[in-house]
């Protein structure tokens, strides 16, 4: 391998990408590779078992299908593509704004164009590999049950990754040129999150409006949608046909996508370095706040709560990330609105969704308040008891949850006081549990790692997720008036006990 050649750069980029991946999976701790490998194998086996159940209805669809399977496959491809696009935009933004090796690259005699061409290619490859990893269970099961023609799905995965990377580069550069490097970072991150959310939420909203259900599949399989979409000979179905093993469709989809990626690399690699330099040279100017006339007399607990809220509200990126979690509450809100005058049937679905969302939101806010403290030494050296500091921060988190969910619970109370009570108790339990887990597994970090906070402790991440699920299940069963609600509640308590026992901060 000649130093400075394309393959040499590619090798370098792939090595860095592999180490990033390992670091992300092992949270930077050496010697955990074996544990991660075992967990991955368990996940892959579990995902294949799940896929065995879900793809059963579609494995025998022929290569000349009717509209319904084409709609479902296309919908699934679009849904997955929106998630890949979001992931790709994150990668591109990171490449632009991380300065780590930019000075070295641009001050070396190597051709910057080559390096950035490889870098864009490596980003596309990592997106493709991620998509392949997540899609593999479904595709493998489809191949095992429906034959080798389903191998075409892997080709579509490659096409999806390539187009997502190409579109992400083009969109980010377009943002650069229109709003400048200073605003692009935040805008790109918001766009990435919105792209991921909008399609999922859009499908749910459509499902609620047409069927009064949160199920996306029910909407994709509905007669109304099938009647609205183009006929089976439309070009729109090319990706779906490629998935089903139509070789000519696969050639068009794959060829077109790779050509698009090649063109993107050709057009943008030359200017990529300039944009990256512009991005990394951005100087942040502190916004001026209103001039106040005097200090206000407040207790330590109050200044701590106030500080948490001020920091959150002044950080558009954090607000967008937090609001994104609330965006997922839009479909249940819509369901609630539609349920007025139609009895309480839909509430069995709505209440657990609220409880689940409360757990997730509380986990995020608790991480910001507890682990994401920007001045830990200052707070720790203040003459305030440690438990009072923690209490103030927990109050800030639970206060936020109360503000976000009170309107929902208030609206629920008009429909059914019993359901509102269950929702309130569930929201409180899920939020308190998620906050406790974040407290027990606290680890000092800067706030910009908010989206990657899960890497600090896999156990805490799973405990938080399963705890929220348990409380949501408890709420679902309790809304139906079933005594079986005690079982998931017991599991929720068990998760908390286990988390406390496993916590590195038992004191």
């Amino acid at each position: 391998m000649t130093a400075g050649s394309l393959t040499w750069f590619a090798n370098h980029e792939l090595r860095l990408a592999w180490r990033d991946f390992l670091s992300m999976m092992t949270a930077g701790r050496r010697g955990r590779e074996r544990v991660v490998a075992i967990a991955l194998v368990v996940f892959i086996v579990f995902a294949h078992l799940l896929a065995w159940y879900f793809v059963a209805r579609y494995v025998n669809v022929g290569t000349e299908p009717d509209k319904p399977p084409l709609v479902v496959i296309t919908g699934t491809v679009l849904l997955s593509w929106s998630l890949l696009m979001s992931q790709a935009m994150e990668s591109v933004t990171r490449a632009f704004y991380s300065r780590s090796d930019l000075d070295l690259i641009l001050s070396s005699p190597a051709a910057a164009r080559k390096i950035f061409a490889v870098r864009i290619g490596a980003m596309a490859l990592s997106v493709i590999l991620m998509a392949a990893l997540l899609g593999a269970p479904i595709i493998n099961v489809a191949i095992a049950r429906g034959g080798a023609r389903w191998l075409g799905a892997y080709g579509v995965v490659i096409a999806m990754g390539a187009t997502a990377a190409a579109c992400a580069v083009a969109l980010t550069v377009a943002l650069f040129r229109t709003i400048g490097p200073k605003r692009t970072r935040l805008a790109a991150q918001i766009v990435a999150a919105v792209i991921a959310a909008v399609f999922i939420i859009g499908l749910q909203v459509a499902a609620i409006l047409s069927h009064g259900s949160l199920s996306r599949m029910m909407f994709l399989e509905s007669d109304t949608l099938v009647a609205l979409v183009p006929e089976t000979d439309s070009l729109l179905w090319l990706p779906a046909r490629a998935v089903l093993g139509d070789l000519s469709a696969l050639a068009i989809v794959l060829g077109g996508s790779l050509a698009l990626l090649g063109l993107t690399i050709l057009v943008f690699s030359a200017r990529f370095g300039d944009h990256a330099v512009a991005a990394s040279s951005v100087t942040v100017t502190g916004a001026r706040q209103a001039v106040r006339s005097a200090f206000r007399a407040r207790s330590p607990a109050r200044v701590l709560r106030q500080k948490e809220w001020t920091l959150l509200l002044r950080d558009p990126w954090l607000v967008s990330q937090t609001l994104m979690q609330l965006l997922y509450l839009l479909p249940p809100a819509l369901l609630l609105w539609r349920s007025y005058g139609q009895g309480t049937g839909a509430l069995v679905v709505l209440v657990p969704v609220l409880v689940m969302a409360a757990g997730q939101l509380a986990g995020g806010l608790a991480w910001l308040a507890i682990s994401g403290e920007d001045a830990p030494d200052l707070v720790a050296t203040a003459p305030v008891l440690a438990q009072n500091i923690v209490r103030a921060k927990i109050e800030a988190v639970l206060g936020g949850i109360g503000l976000a969910f009170a309107p929902f619970i208030g609206a629920l109370a008009f429909l059914s006081a019993y359901h509102a009570l269950i929702a309130a108790l569930g929201v409180l339990a899920a939020a308190a549990a998620a906050t406790s887990i974040q407290f027990w597994f606290r680890k000092q970090a800067t706030r910009r790692y908010f989206r990657h906070r899960q890497t600090a402790s896999r156990f805490a991440t799973f405990a938080e997720a399963f705890s929220s699920i348990s409380w949501a299940a408890t709420a679902a069963l309790a809304t139906g008036g079933s005594w079986a609600a005690f079982f998931p509640a017991a599991i929720g308590v068990g998760i908390l006990v286990a988390a406390r026992w496993m916590s590195p901060h038992k004191a």
């Binding site: 502190g286 001026r288 007399a297 001045a375 203040a382 305030v384």
Partner: protein, 247 residues
């Protein structure tokens, strides 16, 4: 007179002993500089004094208050400034100082007067209502220092406070610290810039392998090193080399 800081038999181990039976006394109203090679245990010692790290054994008294038994009372009169200024990017210096005043439960009027004075002395007033996110390292360090001083501490502990500061900012910080000592406060500072210790400190302590190996004025240290006309740098290197040879 009660010493500002009295440490006895202080021990702390991580993978290896970081502080090993340290005894140290700093007089009230003194500018004391703690020197030592990298990994000598200076920062660990000061973090234990500031209440950021629990010791394995030993005692710490700050102005007569047992810092391990009554940490809240001790923290009331201590300020801590680290080499990496930890402030809130989304707050302005004015808001940051108001936050610190709230944490220390200060009277709002008194705190505001002090805050305005400090911002004037440190050249922060023109930026008092700008968010700190755009500030340089020097500006951030000055905001952190103002935060440390706004509650009127009797003992100020600084860990490498001049690292990365330009000459102008360093001069402002040194002037404020000297004024604090002149007003009766006690300053304990670690630094790798030996000229600063030589010029500013009343006494210097040299720490190596978690123990105090020498202490005194510059003349006393020279005498201990047996080199009467050397600079503090030469004296320091001689004393550390002797300790390492003995170990």
């Amino acid at each position: 007179m009660t010493p500002a800081l009295d440490i006895r038999g202080l021990c702390k181990s991580f993978d290896r002993p970081a502080v090993a039976g340290l005894d140290l006394t700093v007089r009230a109203g003194e500018f004391y500089s703690l020197l030592g090679p990298n990994g000598a245990g200076k920062t660990t010692t000061l973090r234990m004094v500031a209440g950021l790290l629990p010791p394995d054994s030993g005692s710490i008294h700050i102005c007569g208050i047992d810092a391990l038994r009554s940490p809240v009372e001790a923290k009331q009169i201590v300020a801590w400034v680290s080499d990496e200024p930890m402030i809130y990017d989304k707050l302005t210096p004015y808001e940051y100082l108001e936050f610190v005043a709230g944490l220390w439960s200060l009277d709002a009027g008194v705190a505001e007067t002090r805050a305005r004075d400090l911002m004037d002395w440190l050249g922060l007033s023109p930026h008092a209502h700008e968010r700190c996110e755009g500030f340089s390292k020097g500006m951030r360090q000055k905001v952190a220092l103002a935060g440390a001083l706004v509650h009127g501490p009797r003992v100020i502990i600084l860990d490498e406070p001049l690292t990365g500061l330009d000459a102008g900012s360093a001069r402002q910080v040194k002037r404020v610290l000297r004024e604090r000592v002149a007003a009766g406060g006690t300053v304990i500072m670690t630094t790798h810039i030996l000229e600063v210790a030589e010029r500013m400190a009343d006494r210097v302590g040299i720490i190596a392998d978690g123990r105090l190996i020498a202490e005194g004025t510059l003349d006393e240290l020279r005498a201990q090193a047996g080199r009467s006309n050397d600079s503090l740098e030469d004296t320091f290197l001689t004393l550390v080399a002797e300790q390492q040879a003995a170990a």
